[in-house]
Symmetry: C4
Subunit: 275 residues, 4 copies
């Protein structure tokens, strides 16, 4: 099989570095990008703390400029190195990349606008580029498969949880009433979720004996049914582990299956297995 001749080698090279992660340089680029993204998120965080923002305003501003320039360069390189730039520009990550780069430029036009924080926070979504790195961790793949397989069961479970919370929240609204903090049904449902999931903020708490009795039932229910998603995922993973160690090959002599992956002879009749 013949390999096509590579033309415009620097563009191709750039594409390989930026969009792929197979080469040494590609991995390096991903790591640097990851650090830049995390740094940009830390900057947004620190700026939100009033006391730090007052003290180190200039430093944070400088850091923000460096990030903005780096992101701008990355954005331009991404457009240059790809064959169909518009496909990238209007892709999900293309829009995220643009929006998370421009806030600093926009701050010239819209002076001191607070709403730019929301725009900058979009950088968080760039973190999902890191998941490209996560792919290397084989473990996460297996995890995802187990979760995908139990998706339907978990959906049924969540559906049940939501219905229970709606019913019990409404009951609590009628039992406790607005004078005990259960001001309306949506808020009561919120409280039921807080209680059933065993979070228990305590900003709203039942005051009447009957309310406390119902609350006790909700709590014990929540404490017990957490066993359901746990059981689903556990059994799914156990199943996977179980199937994994053995293969589906059957012995050519006695037709036995479930041989160990390493086996070269049938554990039952001693015949040589197909390699």
């Amino acid at each position: 099989m013949e390999k096509p001749i590579k033309k415009s080698s620097w563009k191709h090279k750039l594409h390989e570095i930026i969009y792929e992660a197979d080469t040494q340089e590609g991995k390096l680029f991903d790591v640097i990008l990851l650090i830049a993204i995390i740094a940009s998120i830390v900057l947004v965080m620190l700026e939100s703390v009033v006391s730090i923002d007052i003290k180190y305003h200039d430093l944070l501003n400088l850091g923000e400029w460096i990030i903005t320039v780096l992101f701008s360069i990355e954005y331009i390189l991404r457009i240059i190195s790809i064959k169909k730039p518009f496909k990238y520009i209007f892709s999900f990550f293309g829009i995220i990349d643009l929006l998370s780069t421009i806030p600093k430029y926009l701050s010239f036009i819209l002076v001191g606008s607070h709403s730019l924080v929301a725009l900058r926070a979009l950088r968080l979504l760039r973190v999902f580029r890191i998941l490209k790195l996560a792919r290397y961790i084989g473990a996460s793949n297996k995890l995802m498969l187990a979760l995908k397989a139990s998706r339907a069961k978990i959906a049924v479970f969540l559906f049940f949880v939501v219905i229970v919370c709606v019913i019990l929240g409404t009951v609590m609204y009628m039992v406790e009433g607005a004078e005990n903090g259960f001001t309306n049904i949506p808020k009561s449902i919120y409280w039921a979720i807080v209680t059933l999931t065993t979070v228990g903020f305590g900003d709203i708490a039942p005051q009447t004996p009957l309310g406390q009795l119902i609350a006790s039932v909700i709590m014990i229910l929540g404490y017990s049914i957490i066993a359901i998603p746990t059981g689903i995922v556990s059994s799914e993973m156990t199943k996977r582990d179980h199937e994994e160690g053995t293969n589906t090959q059957s012995c050519p002599n006695c037709l036995k299956e479930k041989h160990k992956d390493k086996a070269t002879f049938c554990y039952n009749c001693g015949s040589i297995l197909n390699p």
Copy 2:
């Protein structure tokens, strides 16, 4: 086998649509009913929020009328289409259907009566009609079977949890006393449940060192024994998955099922199984 001749075809058709879900129209009816039920519940919720009720009172009132008319039509159709109307009228869902339809009509007689909310909230119970839809999701069936099988064990566990809460609640009442919020034994038991289930509202919290020590024990106990229902359901589900390891092939001689995938002879009569 002869099929009985269908008379009064429109009544029969109606019955099929309303009470069954096998035909295209039957499924459509179920989905529309589901939407109407959810809409009616959302209406009750929104009306309970004072600020929304003031602003959109007329709109909510209109919606309530539409729902009431729809439910009325459905109720009449259900009575017409069934052979034994009284069996439906006095069934659980028949009563629920009636009660969740009449509040708006009653509001003419009992002007502004708040207690009608309770009646309207009964619509929530109509949600369980949705479960008829849930039947289509195969996953929930398997889930229910696993839960049913572990019912006895979970009952023993809940019995144990309640006894522990009663004992520890009483102990805490004697240790902490009314001055620290443990005003009486039922309230202390309520607190013990809040703590053991790791909800922890914080509306009542132990103040004395001894009380905090006992609370620590309750918390660690609750944190550990959550493993029990989880273990029960996990093992039950793993078992079920495992049994799938046996195949559905039946012995050609004695018709026994649940042979191991690897089995070449029937475990019951010793005949050779089909490969």
Copy 3:
């Protein structure tokens, strides 16, 4: 085999009813006793609620007298019907039975003494007599076996949890200090337990950024390591379920093991298994 001649048949009969639960009367006695114990506990509970005690004081007093008389009769019958009365009197349950009977009599001597509540609360321990009934529920036996088998592992886990709480509690005391509610090390350890077990009362909460960072670590740790007791119990139960379906019998012909309990023929070679 000769049966010994029963003398003093009513004493023997009484013993059978009170101490055993094999006969119809024995079971009936246990159920009545159970109801009496629950009633006595409910009475203690209700009396602790000030508003109820004021309203229904006479009724509660009457109930208390009935319970006291019933318990007195039971206590006397227990002494009469047993061969070695002192063995019963000085046994654990003998002492509990006496102590939970006398408070009402003592109230003549020690007028209005509050401390008698503690004595009456001992009746709670009588609930454990109910466990004699629980024995009939086969499920609880299996549960107990699984828990017993994983006892050592759970002890190691609890030991680890306590050490972590002691260390992190001390760290939080030094980080947050008395001004943020972490008044002393035992209290800080109490807080660490509240946090690690995901109870989270909120009566004490970290205020400094560093404290909140450490708290975050504790919470995520607690959220993750709950997997350990759960995993222990789940695997133990799965193991038990797994071993259960099959027996340890080996085929007389091919020596295969793990035959189904119902199997009469070897699933591998078709030989007849030993019955």
Copy 4:
């Protein structure tokens, strides 16, 4: 085989007692050390409670001196009995041992310095010497192996939890804002962790309907994904239990191990296994 002649028998003996735990005396030394460490920790705890410190100051001071002298002797003996004293002195535990011994001596120079508490708290790290004892508990070994094997998967899970908390914390900061307690992004992330892990202190709680809706999603998410670490550990442990299903018999021909209990032929070389 010849044993080398032991010289300087008392030094050797001392080394055996202090550094090893195979002999009777070695175990005794470990137990005494364990008691001394626990006593020293309890002393630090009690001293931190102001009311106890005032009352029993002299007693606590005396106890502190006893511990200090004991630790000093132990430290000197450790240096004497080892061949390369500097290797011990500059080892992790060597430094911990020194630092946890000197605070009382330092208190002469730095009168009443509060910061010595931090130094004394280092004694907590000496507890890890106890783990040397834990080694005897076979159960913990198996536990550690299961956890080590699922390390990668749990890391992926924690990484996911942290990212979700960062994103949702930022969202909540923008939704709720500083006026509802979400003063800055790090604090909002802290709140998201408190909520996702189902701890729920309640020191910060969402006030706006939208905030409560997002909080509900976080809570249900946290309630569901706890199934993931649980599933990981459960399946890992079940797998380990299952592998015990293989026996330790090694093939007489090729010495391979981990044969199935049912195997009659080696899965590697096809030789007949011993029955």
